[in-house]
Every structure is written in structure tokens, then in C-alpha cells.
Amino acid sequence: MRSPLQNMFTIIDDGGASQVDERTWTELAKRAEVAGRPVAIDAAERVAYLGVTAADRATALSSLEAPDFTLPDLEGRQHSLSQHRGRKVLLVAYASW
């Protein structure tokens, strides 16, 4: 598993990972930090994760409009909360652990 990542810099933003050169990697992480976003970096592995600010999440939740999301089922079919408009939804987060 070592070789595919060698000499590559990875940025994960909005859930999607992209490979960039070192200069772009540093620039994007810095820009996110300046914008106040949470940034997690593993310099040795050359991976940076750009998160979402608490203020953005808090504003969305306080609006009481349920944040839309899209996730797969076991068959790989994608489902969005917004497909359920017009019906009451009980949203349940659970886990095997």
C-alpha cells in the first residue's frame, strides 16, 4: 500500500480526496486555516483534511432546516434526506459498536 501514495500530496475537502503537488497542498491547507476552518494534517503521510467551521454547522442547525445528506445503502444505492420531503422522517443514527 506504500507505493500509490509516494510522492503525492492528498487534500480531502468536502469529503472528496484529490492528489495535488506540494505547493498546492501547502497553499490549500494554509488558505483553509486562514479562513478559520479546522485543518488536520499528517505531514509524514502528506495528507490534509479540511473540515467545516463550528460557526457554519451552528448556523445551519440553528436555522432548523435539517441539513441534507446523501449516503449509500448496502447495495450502493445513494439516498438523500431531501427525497423524503413531504413526509415526516425519524432519523436514527446507530452503530454496531
Binding site: M1, L5, T10, I12, G15, A17, P38, V39, A40, I41, D42, A44, E45, V47, A48, Y49, L50, G51, V52, T53, A54, R57, A58, A60, L61, S62, L64, E65, A66, P67, D68, F69, L71, P72, D73, L74, H79, L81, S82, H84, R85, G86, R87, K88, V89, L90, L91, V92, A93, Y94, A95, S96, W97
Partner: protein, 186 residues
Amino acid sequence: MITVALDRSDDDARPWIEAAKPTHPSLIDTRHVLADFYNIVNVPTILWIDEGGRLVRPNDVAFGTDTFKHITGIAAARHHAALRAWVRGEAAALPEARVRALQSLPTEADQQARAEFGLGEWLSAHGRGEAAARHFARAGELAPHDFTIRRGTMPMRGVDPMGPEFRTMLGEWVKAGNPYYRPLPE
């Protein structure tokens, strides 16, 4: 109803889904997308969303059955009755001001923890277990109340999430005066 498993992989959630044979969407969220959007810090967490896509009951703790009632002290019936009344239109959900008052909003530390988790999850999925463990540990320090991180990463770290490490963590947490489950007061 939409159920979302905050699990490491399809295979971790599969036995439960196959046993339940749900007719509703039963989704898998390995990256904790839902936890990030809704500030979910433990499972089970339930929310009510009305026909217009509005949150009418914020994050609450409820169980489908009484299987774990002897541990949690939370009976399933109370939520079932309230849910049924709301769905049938026999009872209104909480007024907006109450929903807002009962909401728990994320802090900057919570969101930094989620970034560390996201990085760790990616590293773990790419065979970088040791690097991942460092970021999971950092995430847990930043958000010690977030058990989707502290317990939810145990399978990725090769730790039994029902085993001694979990019981020690839970014991220390409770001994310090913190509740593991935080159901809404109403």
C-alpha cells in the same frame, strides 16, 4: 424512517441490517458525514424532521427495544408513544424556540476533532493504521464527550468496542460525573 450506521464498513453493519430486513432506507456512513452535519456524539441518536424538512426534535437518545434498558435505564415505550402521536398528528412536536434551546451546537474543538477523525478515517482506509491512530487519539482529546470518535474508531484501531478498553473509558467518564447518554429532558 431513515437509519444510518456510523460504522467502519458495510460488513460491520450488514449483520444487523440483514437481520432487521428494513423496508426504509438503511444507510452506511463510514466517514461520519451525519455526525458532522448534526453534531452527533454518540449512538443511538434520533431526530424528528417534519414534512417541510424542518427539525422539530433535536438530537435525543431513544432505543427501538428494551434490550439494553438494564444498562441504559431508558425505556423504548416513552419515545414510541411520543413518536406515534406526532406521526398521527395527535400531538404537536416541540415549538421552534424549544428545539433551539435543546439543541447542542458544535464548538471549534468539536470540529477540529472531526477533522482529525476524517484524516484518521482516510489514513485507516488506506492502510495507514499507525498514522490513523495518532489522529484518532488527538480527536478524542479534543472532544472527550464524542463517543462516535472515542468508541466508534475502536474497530478501526483493532480494539474491541465492547471490551476492557471501552469499559475503562466508560468507567472513567462516568466516575468524573459525565453521563454516557444524554436524553432530552422532555
